[in-house]
Structure formats: C-alpha cells, structure tokens
C-alpha cells in the first residue's frame, strides 16, 4: 500500500468507514501485539491490550491529525493502555505473572549448548521476569520503551505523557531495581559487585 492509499484509508476510517478501520487493524496488529507483550510480559494481558488499544484508537480517531503518523499515534495508545492494564492489575492486588515472558525468554537462543549454561540462562531470565514484575507500571513502561524498544527519553516523554525528569527517573529507578535484583547473578557470572 503506498502513501496515497494509506492517506485515503485513514481519511475513510476517520469518517467512520469500518472497512477502512479493518485495514488499519490488519496492518498494525502484529506490531501492536509485540509492544503489548513486551510491556505486560504476559501473552493473555497483551491480547487484552491489543483489543483495548484498537477500541480506544477507534473512539479517538476524530482527534487524530491527518498529517501525523498513524503508527506513532497508535503506539502511544498501546503504551498507555498497557500502563493502565498494569495499574489495574496492581490495584486489584494481582501478582504479575511472568510466565509468558519467562517462557519466551527461556526460548531465546543461548551462546553455549551445554546444560550448565542453559540452566544459568534460565535462572537469569527467571530473575529478570520476576524483577520486571516488581517495577511500578510507569517504571516498567519507561524501561520497556528505553531498553527493549530503543526509544529516547524525549520519545518516552511524548509516548507516556511524562515530563523529562519523570521519564528519566522512571528509567533510572527501573534500572536501579533491576541491578539490585540481578546483583547476585552478576556476581555469580564473575562481574565485580558495586557497593
């Protein structure tokens, strides 16, 4: 689909054309799921975020500026939906279930095939998943955007509607908590511990 087609589809979707919105959903779903999964760390929650994000996008299409990039706009909605989902889970007192993420992390290729290496890698990924589950929703979102998605602090500010200092602090606090949680593993791996 070229730029002219994309513009036309967007214009039709903004005018309430369901078929045009279907095209947008089909185009962006996989990317949306990927981000939602990284943000929530859980396949089931990620699916909920995908669904809620497209519903929000549909409701807010009237606010979308035609000249803006739909993917970027949608990305922002997904990130905020994921934060809302994490907050809701927290306020309900749900424990983060890192199983999905852990499963995926465990399946990541390791550099050495021997069982010891695999066990070590599994332990690392288990700790990583657990430590991510301990972060506050905003910390987790900011960390995901910075560490996994490679977004700059400026982009994180605009995506999560945070001030620069808040975005920096969120990333920093996340890194600090992860360092504490993963410290013993780093020591086991032979890296010197810092006071």
């Amino acid at each position: 689909m070229d730029a002219t087609d994309r513009t036309a589809v967007l214009a039709r979707a903004r005018g309430g054309d369901g078929e045009a919105f279907r095209v947008l959903v089909e185009q962006h779903s996989r990317r949306v799921f990927q981000l939602a999964f990284r943000m929530t760390g859980n396949e089931h929650d990620a699916e909920d975020v995908v669904q809620e994000s497209f519903l929000r996008a549909y409701r807010q299409l009237g606010r979308f500026e035609a000249r803006a990039n739909f993917g970027t706009w949608l990305y922002r909605i997904v990130a905020n939906c994921a934060v809302d989902m994490l907050r809701a889970k927290r306020s309900r007192g749900d424990q983060m279930n890192p199983a999905g993420l852990e499963e995926q992390l465990l399946s990541a290729p390791t550099t050495g095939p021997n069982p010891e290496r695999l066990a070590e890698s599994a332990e690392i990924q288990r700790r990583v998943a657990a430590a991510l589950g301990e972060l506050s929703p905003v910390e987790r979102a900011a960390f995901t955007l910075r560490h996994y998605e490679g977004r700059s602090i400026e982009e994180i500010c605009s995506t999560l509607n945070l001030r620069t200092s808040a975005a920096k602090h969120s990333v920093f606090r996340a890194v600090k908590k992860l360092r504490v949680a993963l410290g013993p593993l780093r020591m086991a791996a032979g890296t010197p511990e810092q006071p």
């Binding site: 500026e65 890194v175 360092r179 010197p192």
Partner: protein
C-alpha cells in the same frame, strides 16, 4: 575528583545525556566511575529483548473479528482544537458551568403559566449544560484517578512525588469549581466525593516533594483508609454510565 552519578551513567549507557565525550573521558580515567559503569552495563546486558510469541499473517483479521462486534456504533467524531489541553479545557468548562449556575440562581425569572417553546428550549439547554457538567466531571475524575494511582504506585527508598504534586496543584482549582457547582445543583453524592478528593489533592500538593519510605507508607495508608481511589472510580463509572445512557436515550422534550 567529582564523580558521575548512577543516573548520569545509566543515561550514558543508553546513549543519552549531555557531554557524552566528557563522561567517556572520565570513565576512562576514574576507576570508581568505571566500576560503576561496568556494573550497570553488565546488568543491562543480562536483560535480552524477549521475542513475542509468533503471530501469523491472519492475526490482524482475528483481531478485527474480535473487536468488530464491540466497536461503538457511532463513527469517530472530530474534536480537534479542544482536545489539545484537557486540563485547560476542564478549567474553562468548570468556570463556565459555575458561572451559568450562579447566573441561573441570581437572574430574576418570570414564572410562565404553561410550557412555552421558550421554556422547552430553556429545559433543553439545562439538560445540555447538565450533560456537559457530567462529562467534564467524569473527565476530571479520570485524571484524578490516574494521579492517585501514580501516587500510590510510586516506589523507592526515597519517594519523589514532585510530578504528582504539580498535577495535583492544577487539579485542585478545577476540582473546587466542580465541587461548588455540584453543591449548588444539589448533587450531594458528587459534591462529597469531590470534597474528599480536594482535601487529598491539597495534602499531596502541599506535602513534601520527596518522602522517606516510612513517610510515604503513612501517606499511602491514609489514602487507603479514606478509600478515595475506590470512591473516585465508582463515581467516574457512574457518570460514564449516565453519559452513555443520556447519549442513547431520545430526549422527551425535543
């Protein structure tokens, strides 16, 4: 020698921050900062990007089929300029509503013997203004809920709540206007929740911007004790419901 902070080095690791050349030179020559940087870098390298479970080409269609039956019936509406700053808009709407309410109270009104077209139109405008008020309050509650959640979910040994304080200060003004309007309109339930919200917003806005973990837990406890978050959420849902039903119910006086 002045060392770089953990925060500076974390930002440096991610390719952010100013004077990166100077930071690199310092790391090269300072064993303390070099060790700390190495510690940060080695931890972060343990955290590999997880691959999301595979979704095939039909996934987009599956998502569409899931959301299609629950998409709102009405097409998306265009609401460009006023959607830009919801806080400013909230304040303006609150002021208008309050002004309209005071004008309505103080303006001498003749008592018409029967319902005339003018009276019908006045009723309709009251209806519209009431709906506007509910939408605006619902929006305000949503923002307040986010703020409270942000606040209670803050963490760390020293909790920095300066961002939440700034937002609380802005919300106090709007909250006051809505509370006065609700009081005047006799909406006791709404006024009560807004009153409790206002007291808590003032506490947040005027408290210290950094709290020790013990202080923070104490603050969080009184927030929990007042069940404010729950009340705000319930009222927000209720207004949202009202909003939906008034949008779908045909007006009898039209």
């Amino acid at each position: 020698m002045t060392h770089y902070s953990e925060e500076d080095l974390t930002l440096f690791f991610y390719g952010e921050g100013r004077r990166r050349g100077a930071v690199q030179l310092h790391i090269d020559s300072c064993p303390t900062c070099a060790a700390l940087y190495q510690n940060i870098a080695s931890t972060m390298k343990l955290i590999a990007t997880p691959e999301a479970p595979e979704r095939d080409e039909r996934y987009g269609l599956e998502v569409w089929q899931r959301i299609r039956p629950i998409l709102p019936v009405h097409p998306p509406s265009h609401s460009p300029w006023w959607a830009v700053n919801r806080l400013v808009l909230g304040g303006a709407v609150a002021a208008l509503i309050l002004a309209a309410f005071i004008a309505g109270r103080t303006w001498p009104q003749p008592q018409p013997p029967s319902r005339t077209p003018a009276a019908a139109s006045s009723l309709a405008s009251t209806d519209v203004s009431d709906r506007m008020r509910m939408v605006a309050i619902s929006d305000h509650l949503e923002q307040s809920e986010r703020l409270l959640l942000d606040f209670v979910n803050a963490g760390g040994q020293v909790v920095d709540v300066s961002n939440q304080q700034a937002l609380a200060s802005e919300l106090i003004k709007t909250n006051r206007l809505y509370r006065e309007a609700a009081d005047g309109a006799g909406d006791v339930g709404i006024a009560d929740v807004l009153d409790a919200l206002e007291r808590n917003l003032i506490e947040i806005a005027h408290g210290p911007s950094t709290l020790s973990l013990a202080e923070f837990n104490k603050t969080r406890m009184w927030l929990d004790a007042s069940a404010l978050l729950f009340k705000v959420r319930v009222l927000s849902d209720e207004l949202h419901e009202r909003e939906l039903s008034s949008a779908t119910t045909p007006r009898k006086d039209a």
